[in-house]
């Protein structure tokens, strides 16, 4: 996609659900057909609007998971226990249903495949979604930009895109990735259980000398903690971009 600013004002559009895929027991990827959708830049999001028959409506933002491309986009939605919107999207929505959305939104938290420099991606839980769009965009463009992904999850069951990440990271021209398990790890494997800390981050990510562009996404608390660790490790705050999902993680 040309590196221009978004052209024209955003308006609400109605797409049709083409397919729904389970990523985990509680997260689904929703594939949406929207003829005329111009495509997006990796990292951008859409606002989704639901309206009840009495006119009551709510909106939530969801990062686009797919690689950039026209007429179709994918969102990955994590079902939140007390959510108002996510349970509808994961439990009620079916192929053929309409879905109203606005976007693509955002020109700041984006990665351009034309950029050759190193990139550090730091994901907390469902924060991996926009970073997956960047990983997919990189693969689709045949980019050789060095990527490293640090993906913090509660347990192996909560990992999104496990198979896709394994496949994309391990091919020739792939990238380095590591998981941080905060509650429990893969059965039988000897892994460290605990939150992201300076030692783990520097082993799994880039040192500040490599001067990578940094993208951090996830719940607000995770994003702030990770950003602080990186700044303390010497990364320039000016190249750290964040996307906070709010206290519950989107």
């Amino acid at each position: 996609m040309a590196r221009a600013a978004v052209l024209g004002r955003l308006t609400w559009q109605v797409g049709t659900v083409a397919e729904i895929r389970a990523e985990t027991a509680t997260a689904h990827t929703i594939v949406i057909d929207l003829p005329g959708w111009p495509g997006h830049a990796a990292g951008q999001h859409v606002d989704v609007r639901l309206t009840a028959d009495d006119g009551y409506s709510v909106q939530r933002s969801y990062s686009i998971a797919s690689a950039p491309g026209p007429d179709r986009l994918e969102l990955t939605v994590q079902r939140l226990e007390d959510g108002e919107v996510s349970p509808y999207l994961t439990d009620t929505l079916k192929p053929g249903y309409p879905l109203e959305l606005r976007g693509p939104i955002g020109g700041w938290f984006v990665w351009d495949p034309a950029e050759p420099g190193p990139v550090l991606l730091v994901a907390g839980g469902s924060g991996v979604v926009p970073l997956m769009s960047m990983i997919r965009a990189r693969a689709a463009a045949g980019s050789a930009a060095p990527f490293r992904l640090v993906y913090s999850v509660r347990s192996p069951e909560t990992v999104l895109y496990a198979a896709g990440l394994e496949q994309l990271s391990q091919v020739a021209g792939g990238f380095q990735m590591s998981y941080v398990y905060t509650r429990s790890g893969p059965p039988g494997a000897k892994v460290r259980i605990g939150r992201l800390n300076p030692v783990v981050l520097s082993a799994a990510g880039w040192t500040s000398a490599a001067a990578p562009a940094v993208f951090i996404c996830g719940p607000t608390g995770f994003v702030e903690a990770a950003a602080n660790l990186l700044v303390k490790a010497g990364h320039d705050p000016g190249v750290i971009k964040t996307e906070r999902f709010g206290p519950s993680g989107g």
Binding site: A4, A5, V6, L7, K241, R244
Partner: protein, 88 residues
């Protein structure tokens, strides 16, 4: 818990008003003079409008209230906004 999000959330609402992306625009805070990308602003969304505050000094840089077909925008908290426009 009242926490803020970042300026990315301004993109949707302001994307219906501005023809260019606001989150990558660089704004100069009218209170403290710091320049930062609007995506870096602290945005409070649990309110009858969006309130964006300067990451450095916490003062309000931008406020927007949207309803039906009307919007009210207060940008007094930004003394200068640098945007990317389409074209060369």
């Amino acid at each position: 818990m009242n926490t803020h999000l970042d300026g990315n959330v301004l993109g949707g609402t302001l994307g219906e008003i501005f023809a260019v992306d606001i989150t990558s625009a660089v704004g100069q805070c009218a209170s403290c003079g710091t320049s930062e990308a609007m995506g870096e602003a602290l945005v409070y969304t649990d309110a009858p409008g969006l309130v964006a505050r300067c990451r450095s000094c916490g003062e309000v840089v931008l406020r927007v209230n949207r309803t039906g077909g009307r919007a009210w925008l207060d940008m007094r908290g930004i003394s200068c906004l640098e945007l990317r426009t389409p074209g060369q």
